[in-house]
Symmetry: C2
């Protein structure tokens, strides 16, 4: 195993949503070590300008590089849609975003070419998935729906409540009635609500979990670059945030699906920004 292959995978997001991607990487690649950075002091990225988000993405990447990572996973829809090209050309290591893997899986799964995409208002208004899907299949029809209450419902931990199902019906019935056969969960928070979303669409509609697809892409890129870590040795995942919001630990552990072994707060100044 090369020295580089033994290094950790770096993952960043504007907050805790990216931990669903981490959970999937750990599940699919149990021999890999993770360094996570959640830019909780500067979230949300969604409403900010592409220039600002790109600058933040560079600073987040620099922080991960300072921790010796071999790959950077942009586990944030907003940063993936505006900053992937900049990061890929600026840094000499593989950079994986969350949008392309989800778009690829949607195009290869749909039978009728009618694809639903759900996400935050920012993601939906950016049409990032629609654009990426169009690059892969010009004939695919993409129906987009924002679900603004899903993030706060996931953060509240109300994934199994009746009220969440009522809200999901409200948002998703138009997509279901439009006859999509594939739906992309286009937000890193949404895997938490996958069960509820599945109840609305029923078994005939395939849900694309972008966390799962991103982890699959990470595995492929590691393999193709000869960067997969060999089994053995002690793994120590590390989690950094730029601020500790209320109920951070409880929420983070729900998103990660397990205990947080190590969390350190780094100041925004340290990662290069100034607020």
């Amino acid at each position: 195993m090369s020295d580089t292959a033994s290094r950790p995978i770096g993952v960043f997001d504007s907050g805790i949503g990216g931990l669903t991607v981490v959970a999937e990487i750990i599940r699919q690649l149990p021999h890999e070590e993770i360094v996570y950075f959640g830019d909780t002091a500067r979230l949300p990225y969604g409403p900010k300008s592409p220039e600002t988000v790109t600058q933040f993405a560079i600073e987040d990447t620099e922080f991960l590089l300072s921790r010796g990572v071999k790959m950077v996973v942009v586990a944030c829809n907003t940063a993936s849609s505006v900053a992937i090209d900049t990061l890929s050309s600026k840094y000499d290591l593989p950079v994986v975003g969350v949008i392309r893997p989800g778009a690829l899986a949607a195009v290869s799964s749909t039978l009728d070419g009618r694809i639903g995409v759900i996400g935050t208002e920012g993601t939906i208004a950016s049409h990032a998935y629609r654009r990426e899907i169009a690059k892969l299949d010009r004939d695919a029809e993409v129906l987009e729906q924002s679900c603004p209450l899903f993030v706060p419902l996931a953060e509240e931990g109300w994934n199994d409540r009746e009220v969440t199902l009522v809200i999901a019906h409200e948002y998703l019935t138009p997509l279901r009635d439009a006859g999509v056969d594939v739906v992309v969960l286009g937000c890193t928070h949404y895997p938490i609500l996958k069960g509820t979303v599945g109840k609305v669409f029923g078994p005939g509609v395939r849900l694309i979990d972008s966390a799962e697809e991103t982890a699959r892409e990470v595995a492929e890129r590691l393999a193709s670059h000869g960067l997969a870590r060999e089994p053995g040795g002690t793994l120590e995942h590390r989690f950094y945030v730029s601020d500790v919001p209320h109920r951070f630990k409880e929420q983070a552990e729900r998103f990660l699906g397990g205990a947080l072994p190590f969390v350190e707060v780094v100041s925004i100044d340290e990662i290069g920004g100034a607020i």
Copy 2:
């Protein structure tokens, strides 16, 4: 009328919630002119450190001063709880926050001394209302409850939906069962949901609308300082934001209860910060 009295009242918030305070000022003081600043590029203030929020509050105030205001209303719970003293001592004009007026009204309204306070997780965790109420009445019992989904529900415009009532019951039943006779709506978004909250508590519980109480305090302070504007002349309210989020106009008009006559985007650099 002094030259100063003819000047506008400045109001700032981290976003659009403060528009419920503006709506109340316009209702109670129809001869006053408003300059509003919503720091939408840097919201939310809730999770940020007191030092950062104080710095933002100073910058927001400086921006309003540059527009010639005679008074500053801090229509933001977080900034009110950490920055009122700094602003009051730094600037030679009246500064009014949203917490003290709500606390005063609660203490003077309660018969049993059992006061409920509802707000965002940030406001509730800060115990800002509890502290302010304790200063006014050491014996009052304060029961606090955070309602994290209320802000997104108000922003979504779902104030009259059945699902909102179900969620309100979930959050508020413990307070109702504890026998509070007064409840402070401790978030500038909550006046939008007042009807729903009232349904849960029933007619025996008085709801304190901190927007209403703040507007009342504004009226008193203007009168005591000889700063009330005389009727007559043309009024032109002005609204500034540091970023235009998705659906801004629709949401802002719901919060304001009317059409937005003038909105201008000012860059964060212009108001003194750097993100």
